[in-house]
């Protein structure tokens, strides 16, 4: 029984790996397709669909919009989340449990419902849909996450350093910029990058709250109307490569270094 299990377990793991990689493999393979359809037989490799993607102004513009929304909304989400975490962790405020529950409540509701509520609110107020409304939507989704991460990282040793700085005459602003933020820098950066990846990939809120300027997932979704198309494969592979590259760079240059410094 045990011997059988030992033999079967690696086979099973290989099967799951194959299942996980199957769609990505097919996606990337047929992005190099020579013909007009991303189906067997494969007649490539050809880079013509990548040339078409880079020549597609709507797609490139959507990519820039996405980057813009991700950078901006994540910055706002981290700042709001950090300030709230700092206030709740360092000051005795009434109803702290309730406040924490209120601030993290958006994490428990479907993105679709959050997007629908914002769409109705903006319609009622006569606010036109734009990149700004998408950005506000993404702050609603990501600020609670940043708050939760940063609140969990507000430890006692930082509080002691802050007390020492205060005794030495640091003002409120100096304390925040010179002591609290630098001490939490790795967590702040981590929550910023996490928000960025979520915003970069978010579809439904961006779809509901956009009109003329769309983000990348919304643009790719509208490309799907043309059915199976190697150009969509090329666009998808390119986005995958960009995201993966950014994740690897972040891991190598930011987190590796942070942990090494933490250990030293």
């Amino acid at each position: 029984m045990s011997a059988l299990l030992n033999r079967l377990a690696p086979l099973y793991a290989a099967f799951i790996y194959a299942f996980i990689y199957l769609p990505v493999g097919v996606l990337v393979l047929f992005s190099f397709q020579g013909g007009r359809f991303p189906i067997l037989p494969f007649n490539g490799p050809s880079l013509k669909w990548y040339r078409e993607v880079l020549a597609d102004e709507d797609l490139v513009e959507a990519m820039i919009n996405s980057l813009f929304v991700a950078v901006g909304s994540s910055a706002v989400a981290v700042i709001l989340g950090f300030l709230a975490a700092y206030g709740l962790a360092r000051y005795l405020l009434p109803a702290r449990g309730l406040q924490r529950a209120l601030l993290t409540a958006p994490l428990t509701v479907s993105y679709l419902v959050i997007g629908l509520g914002l769409l109705m609110l903006f319609n009622q107020l006569g606010v036109p849909r734009s990149l700004l409304t998408i950005g506000i939507g993404h702050v609603v989704l990501n600020a609670p996450l940043c708050f939760a991460i940063l609140y969990s990282q507000m430890g006692d040793h930082q509080a002691n350093a802050e007390r020492a700085a205060r005794d030495l005459g640091a003002g409120e602003w100096q304390l925040l910029c010179l002591v609290s933020v630098p001490m939490l820098a790795p967590s702040i950066l981590a929550s910023y990058l996490l928000s960025m990846t979520f915003s970069w990939d978010e579809f439904i809120v961006a779809f509901l709250l956009s009109r003329f300027d769309v983000t990348l997932p919304v643009e790719i979704f509208s490309m799907l109307r043309s059915g199976l198309n190697p150009k969509t494969n090329a666009a998808g592979s390119l986005v995958f490569l960009l995201t993966l590259g950014a994740v690897i760079l972040a891991e190598l240059f930011i987190f590796r270094r942070a942990t090494r410094r933490g250990r030293a």
């Binding site: 958006p106 479907s110 799907l224």
Partner: protein, 284 residues
């Protein structure tokens, strides 16, 4: 983590920006959805009188009830299949892979996470479509005579979902298994339990709370999702989020969309209560 200062006036300055933002852009829209769900849309205008017509309509209109049923049954299938596939895989990484390779094994298992969400469903379409990879391969091997109709059915939706949640659950179950002290298994072995008995009576019960948390997460993310059923399942068997999007897009019927959203949130709340109750019973 005790607060060090009791000057609450200053504290409010830090908390209020996010608090006000959340109230204005989350709670106000939320209340607005609930109010909107009691209004109705008559001849293209929204009639602002309180009534429960939308909810009555939900329970008397077959295609809306069917959408809820599709949502719940697809989500339940996805949750069960994902847990069953991910658990042995996570177990293999946690128990059989040498410790120094575990991190790599885990990272390799989640690389496809970084494909865009919309692209991931499209990639499954490449595999499952009538002239896609799977059918071409099966026909070349003479395993089937005619292409299988998988795309635009619930099998395609479930496959797309399971792919994503197997990655997610592998992470959560792995983390849970790593927390278990190997001493429990050793003690059971000393007392004469075989590997199967150790798994059934020691490892599995200890890792159940982690499974329940992961299953709840799967349930919530799956039942609210629009993209996967829309791209892979198509229009034959609509799920609740697809019906909500149809109300907004085609007919601008916000009251109906709002009432369906409230029903969706009720289902999620029920799932939450069920898993919380289960966890509490387990701990007691």
């Amino acid at each position: 983590m005790r607060p060090t200062r009791s000057v609450s006036g200053r504290g409010w300055r830090y908390v209020s920006p996010l608090l006000l933002f959340t109230i204005f852009f989350f709670f106000v829209p939320f209340v607005f959805i609930v109010i909107m769900s009691t209004w109705s849309r008559v001849d293209g205008a929204i009639l602002r009188t309180w009534n429960l017509d939308n909810y009555i309509a939900f329970f008397t209109t077959p295609h809306l009830r069917v959408a809820l049923w599709n949502s719940v049954s697809i989500t339940a299938t996805v949750t069960v299949v994902s847990v069953l596939l991910a658990y042995p895989f996570a177990w293999f990484i946690a128990m059989r892979v040498p410790t120094r390779w575990q991190r790599l094994a885990l990272v390799l298992a989640i690389v496809p996470f970084w494909t865009s969400y919309v692209v991931r469903s499209y990639a499954w379409l490449l595999v499952l479509a009538k002239n896609g990879m799977l059918n071409k391969t099966l026909m070349a091997l003479h395993l089937v005579d005619a292409p299988l109709e998988i795309a635009a059915t619930r099998i395609a939706t479930v496959t797309g979902f399971v792919h994503f949640f197997v990655m997610l659950l592998t992470l959560t179950i792995y983390a849970n298994l790593r927390q278990l002290s190997p001493n429990y298994a050793r003690a059971a072995a000393d007392l004469g339990a075989g590997p199967v008995a150790i798994f059934r009576h020691v490892i599995l019960p200890l890792s159940l709370p982690g499974i329940v948390v992961g299953a709840f997460l799967t349930f919530v993310l799956c039942i609210g999702d629009y993209i996967t059923p829309q791209i892979l399942g198509g229009g034959n068997e609509l799920v609740l989020p697809q019906v909500i999007m149809l109300q907004i897009g085609r007919r601008a019927d916000f009251p109906t969309a709002a009432s369906l959203s409230v029903i969706l949130m009720c289902v999620v709340t029920l799932a939450y209560l069920a898993s919380a109750r289960w966890l509490k019973l387990e701990r007691a």
